[in-house]
């Protein structure tokens, strides 16, 4: 099957620090792929490159498009690339580059179906939980300024659908009672789930979760694992996951990619990775690995 | 008790021009006190009402409506800044209230021919002429730099001066504006120096003229500075940083009211109260005198009637005899040239 996401030769440098070096991996549609590695290995940086917040120093990132064309969508192009001389005799390319240079950015990456959560939670703190979810549906609800100002029937219908969709996701994450609270005053664990719900409201094909289980107790982590599995099964959402909770990772993921010092040191099925000596040395540590399956 | 006759005194009592507003108020207040001591008008006492426009057109309009509609004044002494006087005068004219400004010299104030609008001072176009004539004929200056402070008043004055300069067949070597409220004009002074001006004409107020002349002298320029009534104030000396710096500054002004015999007693009175009646203080005093004279003569407070009378009659004031033309300007403008000396005093130039 053609992969949903293909990352090839991805490198990222910050001044002197090389955060990523020649990273290659793919994400199959409908899979749960986990990205693991020690602290500072570059996992979040991979996310940032994929979702367009950082402009990769080199490499390519492609997302399979809806018609499954061979090359897919070049995510890096959406961010706007520097103009090149060769563009001069390719007016179409030129116009496209100019367009992306002016209007490109991470928001376009989201619009082609990639949503994410953040390691440091980023909610709209002064908005209510429900409003947080409605903001996420901005692009779907947008029905024109005038129709909104006049509160047309169409607009109200859209709005109602958005609220319904948001409520459904809130129920999914068991947050419905909090719908009218301010997001900023929720406890940490709720905020994490709210962020996931918000990302899902943008109707993504690929959902990137950065440590979703941080701050959850083992019981809650279990429940979350279940939810993630449901997401894949019921809603056909592909998931790319960063997580340090090995129990969870080993339970739910189909495929693992291990990073260390910005380089991929192993990839494969959970069982393989658990035995891989390099991974054991670099990341899991020998004793923890035994308890991994907790 | 008898209902007092209310007269508004409007000017900038706050903001950067507050010192002129203070002069207006002091003069009018004293005049009202004196007139009341003499028995008031039409058997009623005078009451002056302070109104602050901060030299802002918006506030001037607000103040004008308030004076007219709330306070029900019958006449107004004010405003000061021409940009305030112009919109405010429209409101007074509309309500038929007499307005006489002691200090707005911009031609536009009376050029709009509003029937109840007068002024107690000259016009910039008259003042500029005197200035230009003096620079060319008396100082024999060849290279003249003309500066202004980008206000209605300052720019108007500088333009009037230039028009006359061109009529006299001369051309300025520099024409530029500076910003009110700044103190550092060194760059401009260096520039004046570099064009080798032998006279500098400045349309503006003393708060900028002071630092300007000081910085000219500090940079070794000896050319005279000529200006208008905006710098007519002893404060020029403090603003310039000492009497040594104002030596060789010239300015046009009406015949100094403080030197007019009729005014001498009044000046003494002011000084006794610890106030130097400089600038527009006596103008403001005289303005109130003129208004009251008209009331006495017509036995009325109706703006139109007062205006009618003022257009046709002369009034004896503390500043001498004054009469107005059909626009409301003074018939005789008596601009003369003064020169400051190194003691910080000024004298009329013979």
């Amino acid at each position: 099957m053609m992969p949903l996401l293909t990352v090839h030769g991805l490198s990222m440098r910050f001044g002197g620090v090389t955060a990523l070096h020649q990273v290659d991996f793919t994400v199959q549609p409908g899979s749960i792929t986990a990205l693991i590695g020690p602290n500072g290995a570059g996992k979040t940086t991979v996310f940032n490159c994929v979702t367009g917040f950082y402009r990769a120093s080199s490499g390519t990132i492609h997302l399979q498009d809806e018609y499954q064309q061979a090359e897919g969508i070049d995510l890096l192009a959406l961010l706007g690339e520097p103009l090149q001389w060769s563009d001069l005799w390719q007016p179409h390319r030129l116009s496209q580059r100019l367009y992306y240079k002016m209007f490109g950015g991470p928001h376009l990456v989201n619009r082609v179906g990639v949503a994410r959560t953040f390691q440091n939670i980023r909610l709209f703190n002064e908005l209510t939980v429900m409003e947080n979810l409605l903001v996420a549906q901005h692009n779907q609800v947008d029905s024109g300024l005038l129709s909104g100002l006049l509160s047309s029937r169409r607009f109200r219908a859209y709005e109602q659908a958005a609220v319904a969709r948001a409520s459904a996701w809130l129920r999914f994450f068991d947050l419905l009672p909090e719908a009218n609270r301010l997001a900023g005053e929720l406890p940490y664990g709720y905020q994490r789930r709210l962020e996931m719900a918000r990302a899902l409201c943008t109707q993504p094909r690929l959902l990137c979760l950065d440590e979703p289980a941080a701050g959850l107790n083992p019981n809650e982590t279990k429940a979350l694992s279940q939810l993630i599995l449901t997401l894949r099964e019921r809603f056909a959402i592909t998931i790319l996951l960063i997580e340090h909770d090995m129990g969870m990772v080993m339970d739910i993921s189909d495929h693992l990619v291990v990073l260390e010092h910005g380089e991929v040191i192993a990839r494969g099925k959970p069982e393989q990775i658990q035995q891989d000596p390099r991974v054991l040395a670099a990341y899991l540590g020998t004793q923890t690995a035994e308890k991994g399956g907790l | 008790a008898v209902e007092p006759i209310k007269i508004g005194v409007a000017g900038p009592l706050s903001g950067s021009d507050a010192s002129f507003g203070e002069q207006f108020w002091r003069g009018a207040e004293q005049a009202a006190a004196d007139l009341n001591a003499a028995g008031g008008v039409l058997g009623r006492p005078l009451q002056v009402i302070k109104a602050d426009d901060a030299c802002e057109p918006k506030q001037a309009s607000a103040v004008a409506s308030r004076l007219v509609d709330r306070e029900k004044v019958v006449a107004v002494v004010g405003h000061f800044c021409s940009s305030s006087t112009i919109p405010a005068s429209a409101i007074y004219a509309d309500a038929g209230v007499l307005m006489m400004t002691p200090g707005s010299t911009n031609p536009l104030v009376t050029e709009r021919k509003l029937s109840t609008v007068f002024r107690m001072c000259g016009r910039d176009d008259q003042q500029g002429v005197v200035g230009a004539d003096f620079v060319v004929q008396r100082l024999k200056a060849e290279r003249i730099a003309v500066l202004h402070d980008k206000t209605t008043y300052g720019q108007g004055l500088a333009n009037a001066m230039m028009t006359r300069l061109h009529a006299l067949g001369k051309k300025e070597v520099l024409f530029e504006g500076l910003t009110r409220g700044e103190k550092d004009f060194n760059a401009l002074v260096t520039k004046i120096k570099s064009v080798q001006a032998d006279a500098v004409y400045f349309g503006g107020y003393h708060s900028e003229a002071g630092p300007l002349v000081r910085q000219m002298r500090e940079q070794g320029m000896k050319a005279p500075l000529i200006s208008g009534d905006g710098i007519f104030s002893e404060v020029l000396v403090t603003a310039a940083g000492g009497p040594a710096y104002v030596d060789g500054v010239y300015m046009t002004f009406g015949a100094d009211p403080r030197n007019i015999p009729t005014g001498r007693g009044l000046v003494e009175l002011f000084r006794k109260n610890g106030y130097e009646p400089e600038g527009y203080t006596l103008y403001s005093y005289a303005t109130l005198q003129a208004i009251v004279a008209a009331m006495k003569a017509t036995q009325s407070t109706d703006g139109e009637k007062l205006a009618q009378w003022l257009h046709n009659n002369a009034v004896e004031t503390v500043m001498g005899k004054k009469a107005w033309d059909s626009k409301g300007d003074l018939q005789v403008s008596d601009y003369v040239m003064y020169r400051w000396d190194d003691k910080g005093k000024y004298k009329e130039v013979e």
């Binding site: 910050f14 602290n39 500072g40 940086t45 940490y188 709720y190 | -």
Partner: protein, 256 residues
């Protein structure tokens, strides 16, 4: 329960004594009459579900938000009346939820900030160049931080920031260390190292009060533990007791 009573019989005055405090935010009350004690030299853990009020309790001990009712004693002194910075200067260090590193400062400067709580620095030494204290131990504990010593803390990875927050709190060698989910975002290996370190520093005289979601590890580590449910303490006991308790296993450990 019986454990803690007998413990208080041995040492009459615990290092930290929280007596029936209520605290909250605006109209919301998050803590409803909490009482607990931490003896000198102990590791005490606090566990509870999301939103139980664990972080609120830790912050309340630092008077932010201050307790509305009840009293808090630290080493016998009533600290309910003190301001946050005064409490910190008594030797209470805090690793707060969300790390809160100073993003525009370098790692080294962040560590030096940990010294601000030392009384001599707080009162007299403000004009000294500072930084005289030794971050070496911290760097030894987290070698990663040494590599990044001159990097701005805001650009660190999440786990590195967590290390920094812990390191900063350790700098002043506090008498009481309040830890709010120290394992958050840390790789398993580092986590093991941190828990080992916590045991060590207790030996050096620091007392630890710990909120931890990784209940398994926390209960293994802790001498005693409390369970918080909806702003109320419902259970307490030694770590082992709680670890063995079926309710706890069901509610927090994901056991069956």
């Amino acid at each position: 329960m019986s454990e803690s009573r007998s413990a208080s019989a041995v040492t009459p005055e615990p290092l930290l004594r929280v007596h029936e405090i209520c605290a909250g935010y605006g109209a919301i009350e998050a803590l409803h009459g909490i009482s607990l004690q931490v003896q000198s030299g102990e590791i005490v853990a606090l566990i509870g579900a999301n939103g139980a009020g664990k972080s609120s309790l830790l912050m309340s001990i630092c008077a932010n938000p201050p307790a509305r009712k009840g009293k808090i004693f630290f080493a016998g002194q009533d600290i309910t009346v003190l301001a946050t910075h005064q409490i910190a200067r008594l030797g209470v260090a805090h690793v707060p939820e969300g790390r809160r590193v100073f993003t525009y400062m370098t790692v080294a400067e962040n560590l030096a900030m940990g010294l601000m709580a030392l009384p001599e620095q707080a009162n007299h030494g403000l004009l000294q160049a500072g930084g005289g204290a030794d971050p070496e131990q911290i760097y030894h504990l987290f070698p990663r931080l040494r590599e990044r010593a001159q990097q701005r803390a805001g650009t660190l990875s999440g786990g590195e920031q967590q290390m920094l927050a812990i390191g900063r709190a350790l700098m002043s060698r506090p008498r009481l260390l309040l830890l709010d989910e120290p394992s958050l975002g840390l790789a398993p290996q580092i986590m093991g190292r941190i828990f080992a370190t916590l045991r060590d520093i207790v030996k050096e005289g620091t007392t630890i009060f710990l909120v931890e979601q990784n209940a398994n590890q926390a209960l293994q580590l802790a001498d005693r533990a409390y369970v918080l449910v909806n702003g109320r303490i419902t259970l307490s006991g030694t770590g082992k007791e709680l670890l063995a308790s079926p309710e706890i296993r069901k509610a927090y450990l994901g056991g069956h």
